[in-house]
């Protein structure tokens, strides 16, 4: 995670922000409507051959309107915004091998930065997702809200930082609630190499 705030924040500032929404009102829309090809590619490394994800007739026989996306991809894969889109400036302005264009998994490029000390690394730690409606080929998903619900400071084997949990909602193009998510991450500074 890389924050670029002018103010020097403390971990107490982050704890004091529990309950606040850090989406900044931004509604994050998926780069594309859900595509059959994207579902196929999602299933490929999982070797997930469930016909609900590739056979329209079978999906209909089992109560769906057509092919559905695997639920495990709803929270990110099928609701993720584009990395680059026409009109954007280049995301790769130099040849630094570690330069990255993608948005951070903890969403720190979204409208409202977190009031926390600068950290240089992060990964996801916790997942809790409730599903309310299937996602079909052609659906367009939007993610709303990024409410901070928990902050726990901890030193781990990889460094020192904070475990955080955020709540969001995902809806489809009809405004129908698809999923509620509580996702946790650990933002930290790695231990110095001995």
């Amino acid at each position: 995670m890389t924050q670029q705030q002018e103010k020097e924040y403390t971990w107490d500032d982050l704890k004091a922000a529990i309950g606040e929404d850090f989406s900044g009102g931004e509604i994050q829309t998926s780069a594309d409507p859900v595509e059959a090809g994207a579902i196929r590619r999602y299933c490929e490394p999982l070797e997930l051959d469930c016909p609900l994800h590739h056979d329209d007739a079978i999906a209909k026989q089992h109560g769906y309107r057509g092919i559905i996306a695997p639920i495990s991809g709803i929270n990110r894969t099928f609701s993720y915004p584009p990395i680059w889109k026409p009109g954007d400036s280049t995301k790769w302005p130099n040849s630094d091998v570690d330069a990255r264009a993608d948005r951070q998994p903890t969403g720190d490029t979204r409208a409202r930065p977190l009031p926390m000390p600068r950290t240089t690394a992060s990964f996801a730690t916790d997942v809790e997702i409730e599903y309310f409606a299937p996602v079909y080929v052609g659906d367009v998903l939007t993610t709303k809200g990024r409410k901070l619900v928990s902050v726990i400071l901890r030193e781990t084997s990889v460094g020192y930082g904070a475990f955080t949990v955020f709540e969001s909602e995902i809806t489809n193009q009809n405004g129908e609630l698809v999923a509620k998510t509580r996702t946790g991450g650990y933002a930290y500074n790695p231990h110095a190499k001995s």
């Binding site: 994207a38 590619r41 999602y42 490929e44 490394p45 999982l46 070797e47 997930l48 051959d49 469930c50 016909p51 609900l52 079978i58 089992h62 109560g63 695997p70 639920i71 495990s72 991809g73 929270n75 990110r76 894969t77 993720y80 990395i83 570690d98 990255r100 264009a101 993608d102 951070q104 998994p105 240089t120 690394a121 990964f123 996801a124 730690t125 916790d126 997942v127 809790e128 997702i129 409730e130 599903y131 084997s157 990889v158 460094g159 509580r182 996702t183 946790g184 790695p190 231990h191």
Partner: protein, 146 residues
Amino acid sequence: MADWTQQRYFEDVDEGTELPPVTFHLTVQRMIIEAGANRDFSPIHHNTRVAQSQGAPEMYINNVFIQGMWNRTVQEFIGLDGRIKKVGPFRMKIFNTVGDPVTTKGTVKKKWQEDGQNLVELEVWSETLKGVSVGPGPVLVALPSG
């Protein structure tokens, strides 16, 4: 691979019923294909050097890959008429790194009927050669009645 012509019913499961385990071998190629498919290009998931610079022993899979493993394991158990209603909370405890075989396992914790639905709570976890790497965590499913 699962036989999708077979449907599991609410009456077929009891507390302690085990899910058939599914093992996923994490090769570099598979992790790259997965990262491209699930759109998580954080280098910790495809670049050993970056992962190690952040304290991990090797490049490791992301939470969507893990969710996908659980998704497949559970869907194969509940069949085409089963519905996954909720996953988690679960915690990824240790890194699932390249070269690891990751096996998803599970058991039936309880079953009950509510609002006309046949609900079953599964307990699911992932194991590597180092032990339990993810979970255990609950997965709530609905099954048809036979």
